[in-house]
């Protein structure tokens, strides 16, 4: 892992994207990106899992890197194909490098948000607020990542179509992967810590919608015990 590479990822996304596209010295970048992806997701997962505490911290820390890397594993070939279809027939190495650089930028935003999430939990934030805060961190990370990918795509026809198609695929795959491996925060009113849950809960978007509704109306999660409700 190289600190100067991390610095470049944050400060010079256009330069990084160009290097990826031209396949110029990308191996150190890819190594750094993989390490950043795994470590940041691990720490963010641990912070999110600290809402429940105990073993949930370890499970969430273990599962979030799997979700992040798993999503990239599935999405990278799709990105390669989508870019080629819309007039950017890059080499696989270039496509993978751009995706990993984007992923690393995303992870660095998650890493920056980790203390905020942890602080919110430490100050007694309710389940729904933590869930929305985590979703907000993911959204900000996604935007940071997208900024690099868009620069990598460069000007020309098919850029918007590539971005929209890819974002659609990424949200679908990422959402589904995260949903399969839930829970990360824990379940309100249920003190048992589980690695996976198989309850029917309606999907990621539906759950985020419910949480937003409850936060805006100031209602606690229905399963939250009264003594712990905010």
């Amino acid at each position: 892992m190289n600190v100067s590479t991390v610095n470049r990822l944050l400060r010079s996304p256009a330069e990084v994207a160009r290097d990826c596209k031209e396949d110029r010295d990308v191996v150190p970048l890819v190594v750094t990106a993989l390490v950043v992806l795994a470590v940041s997701a691990l720490l963010f997962g641990a912070a999110v899992g600290s809402w429940r505490g105990g073993a949930q911290i370890a499970w969430a820390a273990l599962k979030l890197p799997i979700v992040t890397l798993g999503t990239l594993v599935v999405c990278v070939p799709a990105f390669h194909a989508i870019a080629a279809v819309f007039g950017r027939p890059w080499s696989l190495r270039s496509a993978v490098a751009i995706m990993l650089a984007g992923g690393a930028r995303f992870s660095l935003v998650l890493l920056a948000a980790t203390p905020v999430v942890w602080l919110a939990i430490n100050l007694g934030a309710p389940y729904d607020a933590v869930k929305l805060l985590a979703a907000l961190a993911y959204a900000l990370g996604g935007l940071a990542s997208l900024a690099l990918i868009v620069r990598g795509l460069g000007p020309g026809r098919g850029r918007v179509a590539t971005v929209l198609t890819f974002v659609g695929v990424f949200l679908l795959v990422g959402g589904q992967t995260a949903w399969i491996l839930r829970p990360y925060i824990g379940t309100p009113g249920d003190d048992t810590v589980t690695l996976f849950t198989r309850k029917r809960e309606g999907g990621v978007a539906y759950q985020l919608w419910l949480s937003a509704e409850r936060v805006l109306q100031g209602r606690p999660h229905p399963a939250t015990p009264k003594e712990t409700a905010p």
């Binding site: 890819v30 890397l69 990239l72 594993v73 070939p77 080499s91 696989l92 190495r93």
Partner: protein, 228 residues
């Protein structure tokens, strides 16, 4: 196909890629094992880099074609010629690697110079034409002097490039002679005294090239002097 089957297939492909990574690695070490493990776990992300070859970079391309390729080949064959013989002291793989490294740097500098000269505004013919036009038109002395300075500088750049290209070509010839000398010593059983002298000459030439570029390369090439 269930999720379990898919994961099993993923693991099998990952394992095969990891084995390929280990087989391709010339020397087994922590890096090789780390690369193999990374390949096994995230092969769609890492295998293109662990198994695929990087395209030649802009700077290195000059060293891998023409003279650069001759030098690389001569170095590799010279190392192979002395491998496992007492002459490996005269020309070790480490010495060859250092020579190769210096040659690559010089070739990269030359490529930069060529790219610079190829840009518009760096053509000595154009600058000569401009100078002639100014002189014919009776332009002020200051304008003519500036145009002359520009023309002289471009001519010097062109000469410098030609001289360095020739020096690199001579270096390639010297390394080919070194390879022949080492092969002769190996198969005739004679001493590698001549080869030692050539190695010293190679370092001297590299030093000269480094000084010509004025980048401190010369200071770095004072490497192992062997055989003299």
């Amino acid at each position: 196909m269930s999720l379990r089957d898919l994961l099993l297939l993923y693991a099998v492909v990952g394992l095969a890629c990891a084995v390929a990574v280990l087989r391709r690695t010339p020397a087994m070490g922590v890096r090789a094992v780390g690369s193999a493990i990374a390949t096994m776990v995230v092969w769609p992300l890492w295998a293109p880099f662990a198994l695929g070859a990087a395209p030649p970079s802009h700077a290195a391309s000059g060293s891998k074609t023409g003279v650069g390729a001759r030098i690389d080949r001569a170095l590799a064959e010279a190392v192979a010629a002395v491998a496992g013989t007492p002459m490996s002291d005269v020309f070790s793989p480490r010495v060859a690697a250092r020579i190769g490294e210096q040659v690559s740097r010089v070739a990269a500098h030359m490529e930069e110079l060529e790219a610079l000269v190829a840009r518009s505004g760096f053509d000595p013919q154009q600058s000569a034409e401009r100078l002639r036009v100014l002189e014919t038109a009776g332009a002020p002395e200051r304008s003519v002097a500036t145009a002359r300075l520009q023309h002289d500088s471009l001519l010097r750049l062109q000469q410098l490039r030609a001289a360095d290209a020739q020096a690199l070509d001579e270096l390639a010839g010297l390394l080919e002679a070194l390879r022949a000398q080492l092969l002769l010593a190996r198969y005739s059983g004679s001493s590698a005294e001549g080869a030692g002298a050539i190695v010293s000459e190679v370092w001297a030439r590299l030093e000269g090239l480094g000084i010509a570029f004025g980048d401190g390369t010369g200071a770095n090439v004072g490497g192992p002097r062997t055989g003299s």
